[in-house]
């Protein structure tokens, strides 16, 4: 990859909780190239959403310590950017859509107003032009009868339609990067597929980069070119999607893949990963996955593993497995 569009380096985010400070995101690094689709996958609490919110500095200010590390975009570090400039990036250069379309739109403002606001802010267009552009955008996200819908309030729209409106808001100013945080999780399965199709088409048409955050491996397989797996605030594996599905390195990734129900096999019980994600405030020595890992070794419980290269464009935070793979390649 040449100079990436977005380069996150050693991002650490800490929250204040009743039980003290907890590290939600622990030295996460990631890069997104121009036009690339990166998937971030992990269970709830893995830190994937916090990572995404931190890129736009949208984390809850009251309970979060300013994230440390670097978020480089266009030669600037977003973490140290003055608020004014940060606002120009938000919605202009980098846009974001969220998990719950039912609550993400303002109930007292019309669709035209909510889409138009972006345009007025970043492109300085007047109200009439903004409304016209809003209709075009609704067409673009395939909302039927856009000219009529544009003057309605969100409560008149279904969840899928609302997510389309959210996407319209996000792409209004032709952002270079779209961060989609679980964009289909709250929707019906059929609608999920439509929204994913829409996102993929828009990504191609507009040539934007996308970071898609999900806990759904199926979504990743359909959408992303590269995938990053997070566990308990850390990156455990990065790989091109095809390779990860064919040959996961980290046992956690393996577990996630086994947990995908297969349509052609009848099972009584769906396979799961034993145990649950650790309490974020708990201190786990060594590898954070070790308490749940079926292939755990003595060293795993002792030494904190580093993220090691595991082939071209691949990294994994599991020294035993990486070593085993290297041996196979040599042999």
């Amino acid at each position: 990859m040449a100079v990436p569009l977005l380069d996150v380096d050693d991002l650490t985010v800490r929250f204040r909780t009743d039980a003290g400070w907890m590290t939600a995101v622990d030295r996460v690094s990631l890069a997104v190239g121009e036009g690339e689709a990166l998937g971030i996958v992990g269970e709830s609490g893995s830190g994937k959403s916090v990572t995404a919110l931190s890129i736009l500095r949208l984390h809850a200010a009251a309970t979060t310590r300013m994230p440390t590390g670097k978020i480089l975009y266009g030669g600037k570090d977003l973490l140290t950017l003055p608020t004014r400039e940060m606002r120009q990036i938000r919605g202009g250069e980098i846009a974001m859509i969220f998990q719950d379309p039912m609550s993400s739109l303002n109930p007292v403002l019309t669709i035209a107003d909510q889409i138009g606001e972006s345009l007025r802010l970043h492109q300085g267009v007047d109200q009439a032009t903004a409304r016209k552009r809003a209709i075009e955008l609704l067409d673009l996200v395939r909302i039927p009868d856009a000219a009529r819908r544009v003057d309605e309030y969100p409560h008149r729209l279904s969840g899928g339609m609302r997510q389309r409106v959210m996407i319209a808001i996000a792409i209004a100013c032709r952002p270079k990067l779209l961060i989609a945080d679980e964009p289909t999780t709250a929707l019906d399965v059929t609608i999920q597929a439509q929204i994913l199709d829409l996102l993929r088409d828009l990504q191609r048409e507009l040539g934007m980069s996308v970071i898609l955050i999900t806990h759904d491996m199926g979504v990743i397989a359909e959408f992303a070119r590269r995938v990053m797996v997070m566990y308990a605030g850390r990156v455990v594996e990065t790989a091109p999607v095809g390779q990860m599905f064919r040959r996961p390195v980290h046992p956690y990734t393996e577990g996630l893949l086994t947990a995908i129900p297969k349509l052609d096999v009848d099972v009584r019980r769906l396979p799961t990963i034993a145990g649950s994600i650790p309490d974020p405030t708990a201190v786990i020595p060594g590898c954070r996955y070790s308490p749940r890992c079926p292939q755990v070794q003595e060293s795993c419980r002792r030494d904190s593993p580093a993220l090691l290269p595991a082939g071209p464009e691949r990294e994994a935070r599991c020294p035993p497995r990486v070593a085993a793979m290297a041996k196979e390649t040599v042999a």
């Binding site: 736009l56 949208l58 009251a62 606002r87 120009q88 990036i89 938000r90 919605g91 202009g92 846009a95 974001m96 969220f98 719950d100 609550s103 993400s104 739109l105 303002n106 109930p107 007292v108 403002l109 606001e117 972006s118 802010l121 970043h122 309030y153 409560h155 959210m166 808001i169």
Partner: protein, 309 residues
Amino acid sequence: MRLSQAVPVLLIFSVMVFMLMHLLPGDPALAIAGPDASPEAVQKIREQLGLDRPLIVQLLEWFSHLAVGNFGESLTLKQSVISAVGERLPVTLSLSFVSLVVTLPIGIGLGVVAAYWRNSWIDAWVMVLALLGVSLPGFWVGILSVLYFSVQLGWFPPSGYVPLTEGGVGPWLASLIQPAVVLALFQIGFLARITRSAMLDVLDQDFIRTARAKGVDEWTTISKHAFRNTLIPVVTVLGITLSLLVGGSVVIEQVFALPGIGRLIVQGILNRDYPLVQGTMLLFGFAFVVINILVDIIYTIVDPRVRYG
């Protein structure tokens, strides 16, 4: 639709007012006849006024008069209830109006400020002030206020009312601003607390994050995206606030010797002036109903999800 609901409400309310008044010990005939009158004279007055008849007859008679818009004659004021109320209504309306004009921006403003800087010293001070506002009794603050601002500093007249038609806006406002502010203290405290908690709820909503993600600045986030949503619960309690305003004016009018409806009611109750009190209370009841309908109308303006058929 809402208006048709108002009819049974007012009917029940008027029966209750009537019963309460007549259950009070005491006799208007005594008040009219004076302390030295003979029992026979008092009895004669009772008969003249029709007070010797059964309660149910009196109630039905009152209703039949009400049905044709006749609120009756005051027993003690030598004027009709309508004209007695009409004379004093402007005073109470002026007081409520000025008080509301003081209350709304300050109460809502303080609430918003406290919510925006939640858990800061600003928030703490606003909440202390709000608590004082709702807990300090109005008559006591009123007396202190008169002692300081009227007697000591001489800024405002200590009591009395100057109608708009007599002295113009200046003296009218000067005669009202002190009681209005004292009356507003409770409302401000109440409204500030409600607004603060409503605003805190709204600021945690996903659509606020959406606004920020669009690049909207803090001021617009608050004033455009959060404020109208905050108003929805605030409007709900606005009806209660307005009703409290009317109730509070009864006390404040006593303290500042304002010749308003509140004083009229107190006078009427002391004299057992049945028609006067019943008529005035019915007017209050009607005012509450109108306030609540107004609140419902404001609702539809503030919240597009609410529509009445």
